[in-house]
């Protein structure tokens, strides 16, 4: 009887261990484990009064040779990607200023809602030193769009279009020396989990090119965590 009981327990434990092993393997197979925390930059005046100020720097590249995929571009060297990482961590109830250098080309965006700036302080962004509310729909390379789940809290929504490097300025080799630089500031609310992604179809697929780099975390999308400071 005891022997049988041990047999049964053994099978259950072995099975559970196998599943745990597979689960651990699958869950650790992440290509974007690194997280970048925002850099403190004193305080700043906002419509909501003086708030702690933090900054984040990132870039978008036409391939994966830059960014966090290693010198050889990782598994998909020709996929477009953001860098240096795609996961960010910022404090709650603070003003966050993000600077994006955009090295990729582009064309007309399918949905011109995302050609307009949404959710930033006073609804503008700074493109190459110039304050704008939107850019022409046919000059867009990517967007940086932040959103989250609908729960009981107020939700962050920030979306800015990133101007494309004009076709004639795209170099044959390497990256453009004069990437359009976008700066925008928004104010975080309570702590929470968000994600950001690009809303410009720049991957694979027949109807809308949202495959490949667009459908894999660590390229054109990532996590954005608001934490209590």
């Amino acid at each position: 009887m005891n022997k049988r009981l041990f047999g049964v327990l053994g099978t259950v434990i072995l099975g559970a261990a196998l599943i745990t092993g597979i689960g651990t393997y699958v869950s650790s197979a992440k290509n974007d484990s690194r997280v970048l925390a925002a850099t403190p930059a004193g305080t700043i005046d906002t419509p909501q009064g003086e708030l702690p100020h933090y900054t984040l720097d990132m870039s978008s590249y036409p391939d994966s040779m830059a960014g966090s995929h290693g010198a050889d571009g990782g598994a998909h060297p020709d996929w477009v990607t953001f860098g240096p990482v795609t996961n960010f961590e910022v404090p709650a109830h603070s003003a966050i200023t993000i600077t994006v250098r955009q090295y990729d080309g582009g064309e007309t965006i399918t949905n011109d809602f995302f050609a307009t700036v949404h959710g930033t302080v006073d609804g503008t962004m700074t493109l190459n030193g110039e304050k704008v509310r939107s850019i022409p729909a046919n000059q867009i390379g990517h967007t940086w769009t932040l959103h989250g789940l609908s729960d009981t809290k107020d939700q962050l929504f920030v979306s800015v279009p990133l101007k494309a490097v004009p076709d004639e300025e795209m170099p044959e080799e390497g990256y453009s020396s004069n990437p359009p630089t976008t700066t925008f500031t928004f104010i975080t609310g309570d702590a929470g989990e968000y994600i950001w992604n690009c809303e410009f179809p720049c991957g694979d697929g027949t109807v809308a090119r949202f495959g490949s780099a667009m459908s894999t975390m660590g390229y054109m999308s990532g996590h954005f965590t608001v934490v209590n400071a």
């Binding site: 399918t110 949905n111 959103h147 992604n197 809303e199 109807v207 809308a208 949202f210 459908s215 975390m217």
Partner: protein, 255 residues
Amino acid sequence: MSELETQKRSSIFKRKDVRQTGLLWIVLTAIIGFVASEVQVRSMGAPASETMATTINMMRVFTWAAAPIAGLVAAMAATTLLAKRHYGDTPPDDVDHEIRNSPRAAGTWIIVSALMCLFALIWGMVALQRESVGLLDSKAMHVNVVGQQWAWNFDYIDNGTVRSQDLYLPVDKPVVFNVTSKDVIHSFWIVQMGIKIDANPGYMTQTSVTPDKIGVYDLRCAELCGLLHAYMQKKVHVVSQADYDAWISNQGGNI
């Protein structure tokens, strides 16, 4: 032959197991109907439109209508289980009858299930008809809904060029949604209003609702649409007409 056939029909109801089943049937029907309808209705939360109120009501009615059937099956099964159980490696004796069918029972069962089916169908058809009529309401405001991978946006075409990423609606005003998609199939689901329609690339689909309670509700994508499907959610703000007008003017639209 069998007791059933040799005895008078009225005496069936004097048999112990029949009476026990009858009693169990009543008790179980009440329990099943009450628990199943209350648990489900409570989980669905408070409705934010008449459409949702109708849906909740239908859940309650259908649950209660199904309860006697479930109760009868449960009562008969339970009575059998409580009566004669046999454990062991060899079977018990065969039962002392060889009843193979009962045309009367089969006929009753089929007719009753057909009537139940008809009941559900008519109730559903009437509700469907009432809700479809909403699409033809000439006083309704129209909102264009665009889904694209992992974001929604809304065009308030009756108010000029106003667009938004959260949905704003005036209370008690019928609204028709013209829904489409820029890429793959999404599904436009305002949870507390009980409406859902797919957003298809290349086509426009419509659904309508009249929100009847001021509040903040959830819009969730209900069709797997790729990597960040889980995050394709927005809030729906139902506000008073005055607040809505103020919001529209603030966004630069015309009222």
